[in-house]
Symmetry: C2
Subunit: 563 residues, 2 copies
């Protein structure tokens, strides 16, 4: 049996290795368009930034090492330009001319190309993407040749990593992003923390704006933004997303959806004998059921392995799991990570949900080095099913998101997070881990024990409700919402009459710094018959969610309201 | 309604706080025998070691703060000495004399006492336990008074933390442990790594031995071991386990099992109106069904919260989950953690299981700072259900154990670990995370794609099988098993006839450094018709599991066997 695999990174290589483990007799040919197979594409920004100094480290495997260990026939600079599904033959451009290669099973893992929006001047030699080892080498060369200014088009994960890498190399970096904030999949109240960190790294952010054109010059290019601003740059990184690299296969009759190959739960395409995996395929979102390509290494590797199973052990292989979409990025001293879906995906899918915010320490507060995590969970309104989670912080973000990704994969409801036996000792966590705490808050919300209000509703609240601020007098004096009454949560039980008089029949909207004290106060108020709700995530979340508007609202009044 | 809670740490305090959140009108009285409530008992060793300098940091809450925030009536130095379940009254020794306090609901959270084995001289004033803030203050005082030598009796989690704390303060520390290795719940092949690290910290380990007596002296005590050794010490820490502190309640008729209070799934004892939580209660092991007390803060807090629910929302509260038994400890630059059950518990319960070992990097190998994790999983033989996991390493241990604890709680089989979408970027993990890799290995074992042999069977293997070592020639030359043939895995396909001849009909037992190359070789051999198996965890695990015996077996032979 001859298995031909198109594409020698992630999904394709995982498929080839698994196929060999299952079958010593199969002929396994891997055709890779580029110079390298199985390279560390996620490591490229760190080579550009200098944290990885030896480019050889990026080459995890070579055709020689793969032949020696796994008897794979890996051919680089082999570009598949045609597919004849009837004859079961692919046409391949090679350094030695065009050839035709027959197959019994064909696995398409062509990946994605950088999206190239129709920006005039984008063909400037100073514009690079960051997808391949050659891209990384070229960027590093431009840095070493003395580039001083860089513009990064697109503030997604790779754009942010590229921006940090170039800033680390001493360049002045501007990031241009069409969306309202960096890392668009992050909720705005977390993305704001990432933006602050990027600015600390000296990176200039320009959001809600696009590039209108690139003017090539002798010394540098000028990136013209849609508002007329001109950004000079010796180096421009294009990272505005990717699109499946499937034209050859779609032309040959492989069914596609908006350019991505349609596959069934075993990775089979519409054509018998042809499978597909990775960034070029349509995935079904595990939470929303939405169909779109997912450009992540983990799901690609997983699919590659399962396709090998399906080819060589038909009937016995497990279905390819729907990706949950977990992703992570380092930004300076911070980490940002997410799993499952975010608000905009839930809104688009029409799924009713509740959101909770919390800011616990990553480990025991009394142990040296405690820092805050900023954690968001979305829960299905009907039953508390975990739909998505996001976190930003200096430490412990990856652990909590991985636990939550596991819980989402297991189909847990939020109450079940309370029951997780997570490892506790003061250097590692808390006796009530942030994930357990999220479970408690979520359960309280689900059962109505806790009612929440959200930062984005602040104008309605100011118009129609009575704001009760349960922080200490000293905290209150540093800035508070207009019209808020300050009753520290420890005094509330003795001052309920005062609150009743001041509220004058309006709903009471409670707030504190992070949402802990206001939740205690909410219970006191709710049991005393008030229409009460606690600000989710407190002023920490309000500040991050509303930015300048929050600064304007939380004005310092210099005096204690209730002195 | 009056709720009386006996014990103001962990479970008791969680119950009190939850009760108040649910009911503003309840009278909630917490009776604590000691000086302090809600203190950071897991932080005590770090205060002794000086990482936490201010003892006030250990007092997370005070009776005053709890009254202010939650209107709790917290009474310290109140020792419950009697219970009259008919009258619903407890008798309490207080600083002001004995009093009787009636209750509507009584929650017992008395915790455990340090076990005191019948060792003559154990009443020496130089002997301390490490259970309370006062214990920690006393140890710190002894250190500051110039103690130079310490003996720690018992090498469980707290004993190891105490030993490291005292070594950090400059003392010469010996640890004495009856079991064969430190941290007895750890498998020996992981405990060996912890022992090495403790020795690097300058700590002397004496295992498989007990203390026979303590001789008090003017300048120091002498700890006499059962082999006659005398260890001089100014300071002796007793940490040989705990026993439930339940005598008063058992005498009053509360049903107990070997001293631990029997509770149902809502924490109810045999007596109406009396609940119990925490270290003093019998838990049912989530994996084996074995009934025993579990002395961990997380399950105690969880049970306390759910008991408050059962008291105040009867019928609506969830059952208290069976603890999975996750625990973690820092040892110098290492972390050791475990979840679920270990070999001895599985053997005792008669559950058939398979074990896998792996040593992946905690993050991408090409990214700076990559270090090995040492990971063990136990799987149910019939279906691959996850039964237990353990890990030791410098980084990323807590994350993997928490993910596996979540998977165990979710009832996952090992195959499902492959499907977990864990956060990947080079600083945080690998595209195939160690947990995913464990899933792949486990699935291969479950389906028979991979056959394993284990280090503890090495003598049988040497007697009856043919050993094939698939490392490189250079690695082989540094030491190998007697009689082993060296065929680097990359040459195996071309040298199968040679292996067949040398094996002469015997089973082939393959090995390499960590189990990766031998697994590849196993697939080649199995498909060529050999009775083959790969050494689980490779020589790394063999060395750790067999210690001196491994050193003796893996003797350096100075020449290449197959030169």
């Amino acid at each position: 049996m001859r298995i031909v695999i198109v594409g020698g990174v992630a999904g394709g290589m995982s498929c080839a290795a698994r196929a060999r483990r299952l079958d010593e007799t199969a002929e396994i040919i891997v055709l890779e368009r580029g110079e390298h197979v199985s390279y560390a594409n996620c490591g490229l920004p760190y080579f550009v930034g200098g944290e990885i100094s030896d480019p050889a480290k990026l080459l995890v495997q070579t055709p020689q090492s793969l032949h020696a260990a796994l008897n794979l026939d890996v051919r680089t600079r082999h570009d598949v330009t045609g597919l004849d599904p009837e004859q079961r033959v692919v046409t391949v451009d090679t350094p030695d001319g065009t050839m035709r290669i027959g197959y019994d099973a064909l696995v398409l893992s062509p990946g994605a190309q950088a999206a190239r929006p129709p920006i005039p001047g984008l063909d400037s030699p100073r514009v690079r993407t960051l997808r391949t080892v050659d891209d990384a080498l070229a960027l590093r060369e431009q840095v070493e040749a003395g580039a001083r200014r860089a513009v990064v088009l697109g503030a997604g994960f790779i754009g942010i990593e590229a921006a940090e890498a170039l800033a680390r190399q001493g360049l002045d970096v501007s990031v241009v992003e069409l969306a309202e904030h960096v890392l668009p999949p992050l909720e705005p109240e977390l993305a704001a923390l990432v933006s602050d960190e990027l600015r600390l790294l000296g990176i200039e952010l320009r959001t809600s704006i696009g590039a209108a054109g690139i003017q090539q010059g002798a010394e540098h290019d000028l990136v013209a933004l849609s508002d007329g601003t001109l950004l000079p740059a010796e180096l421009i990184v294009l990272s505005v997303g990717v699109r499946p690299d499937t034209a050859v296969f779609e032309a040959a009759g492989v069914a596609c959806e908006r350019g991505a190959i349609v596959v069934d739960e075993h990775g089979r395409t519409s054509i018998p004998g042809v499978w597909a995996v990775g960034d070029a395929t349509v995935s079904v979102d595990a939470v929303t059921g939405v169909r779109r390509p997912v450009a992540l290494a983990g799901p690609a590797n997983r699919a590659g392995r399962l396709v090998a199973d399906d080819i060589l052990r038909p009937g016995a292989s497990r279905p390819i799991p729907h990706p949950v979409g977990t992703a992570i990025v380092r930004i300076g001293s911070l980490t940002a990570a997410l799993t499952g879906v975010n608000r905009s995906a839930l809104d688009a899918a029409g799924i009713g949900y509740r959101t909770i915010h919390l800011h616990p320490n990553q480990h025991a507060g009394y142990f040296p080095g405690a820092t805050q995590l900023h954690l968001i969970l979305h829960l299905r309104e009907t039953d508390g099913l975990l739909l998505g989670a996001q976190a930003v912080g200096a430490e412990g973000v990856d652990k909590r998101i991985d636990v939550l990704a596991t819980a989402i994969r297991a189909g847990m409801v939020v109450d079940e997070l309370i029951d997780l036996d997570l490892a506790y000792s003061p250097p590692y966590g808390q006796a009530k881990d942030p994930v357990n705490l999220a479970g408690m808050i979520g359960e309280n919300v689900r059962t109505g024990t806790l009612a929440l209000w959200y930062a984005q509703d602040v104008d309605h609240v100011l118009a129609d409700a009575f704001v009760l601020d349960t922080r200490s007098r000293a905290e209150f004096a540093t800035g508070h919402l207009p019209g808020a009454l300050n009753v520290p949560h420890t005094e509330l039980r003795d001052r309920l009459d005062e609150v009743r008089t001041a509220a004058a029949g309006r709903p009471v909207r409670v707030m504190c710094a992070s949402g802990v004290r206001s939740a205690i106060a909410h219970r006191v108020l709710a049991q005393a018959g008030f229409d009460s709700a606690s600000l989710s995530g407190g002023i920490l979340t309000l500040r991050a969610a509303l930015g300048d508007r929050a600064a304007e609202l939380l004005r310092f009044e210099g005096a204690m309201q209730d002195a």
